[in-house]
């Protein structure tokens, strides 16, 4: 199953990359705004969610891009759930150590993990790309970094 065959027309690749960029942007923004709409009195909740989403998007895309080029798309997709579990585990670790202020906050942990889950939902769209070096990768990394930064700001706002 390929999202874009290797013989894909450059315009088709461009369209596919543009769609992937929108996929990275729309759910992330909608979810962060949902947190702000209903839990606006606690910007740190949206901050943890956005940071979890951004960090997982960056780390996931870097991992999938650096899988051996011989790896089949099925084997790339086999990594998606384990990656999500690893990112949730890293969230436990950071929340219990460097971000532990008063105590391990389960709500902060759940929010950043929900961000990791949303990011993982996008990985299949990237894992099935025939060209991992396409502009979709750069766009995803930039969007992830912006979410991570915005999340950090919101978490302490």
């Amino acid at each position: 199953m390929t999202e874009e065959p290797s013989h894909a027309h450059p315009n088709a690749t461009r369209d596919s990359d543009r769609r992937f960029t929108l996929l990275c942007l729309i759910p992330g923004i909608t979810a962060t705004l949902t947190f702000e709409l209903f839990l606006g009195h606690r910007h740190d909740y949206s901050g943890h969610f956005a940071a979890g989403y951004g960090a997982s998007l960056v780390a996931g895309l870097l991992f999938l891009k650096n899988l051996p080029s011989t790896a089949s798309q099925t084997s790339r997709r086999r990594w998606i759930v384990p990656l999500c579990v690893i990112f949730i585990g890293l969230g436990v670790l950071t929340e219990a150590t460097i971000f532990r202020i008063a105590c391990f906050d389960v709500v902060d942990f759940c929010n950043q993990s929900l961000g990791a889950v949303l990011a993982a939902c996008l990985f299949p769209a990237y894992a099935t790309k025939s060209n991992p070096n396409s502009s979709a990768f750069e766009a995803g990394i930039i969007i992830g970094a912006v979410f991570l930064g915005a999340g950090g700001v919101l978490a302490v706002a």
Binding site: M1, T2, E3, E4, R19, L23, P27, T30, A31, T34, F35, L37, F38, L39, G40, H41, R42, D44, T74, R77, R78, I80, V81, C84, I88, I101, A102, C103, D105, V106, V107, C110, N111, S113, L114, V117, L118, A120, C121, L122, P124, A125, T128, A155, V156
Partner: protein, 135 residues
């Protein structure tokens, strides 16, 4: 493989959203059954003092729970507390005090279903793209 990914990711989302709601509800004490006397009350500062402080209550059965600030303000070390699960009032030293859910829980009750829907919608769109590309 993709259906397994879909199932796992949506399940993770639902479990985490439910955990958020449960934790916020439990901090009001309303879903909890509590009986005993308070042995310690501790307030720890978080990032925004006065806004996200952590209030930890220990009961003589050894249980340590984080509670909402409004409930912590009603308690003192040595207070005898008693309540049944899902009762929206607590007896503190023989005096009945009403309990209320926090603004956090009210927000979570709306936000978490929306976040689950966003996760499900994202999975649906990605799956549809993969299917249409395969055809």
């Amino acid at each position: 493989m993709q259906s397994l990914n879909t199932f796992a990711l949506v399940l993770f989302g639902i479990v985490l959203a439910a955990a958020n709601i449960w934790v916020c509800a439990a901090r009001s004490y309303i879903p909890m059954q509590v009986s005993g006397s308070v042995t310690s009350i501790e307030m720890r500062r978080e990032k925004h003092p006065g806004k996200d402080d952590v209030h930890l209550i220990r009961i003589d059965d050894g249980r340590l729970t984080q509670v909402d600030a409004t409930l912590a303000a009603e308690l003192q070390v040595g207070s005898a507390v008693d309540k049944a699960a899902w009762q929206s009032e607590i007896t503190i030293d023989g005096r009945t005090t009403p309990l209320a859910y926090s603004e956090d829980l009210t927000g979570m009750l709306y936000a978490m279903p929306c976040i689950c829907l966003i996760i499900a919608a994202t999975v649906f769109v990605v799956n549809r793209r993969l299917r249409s590309a395969a055809e």
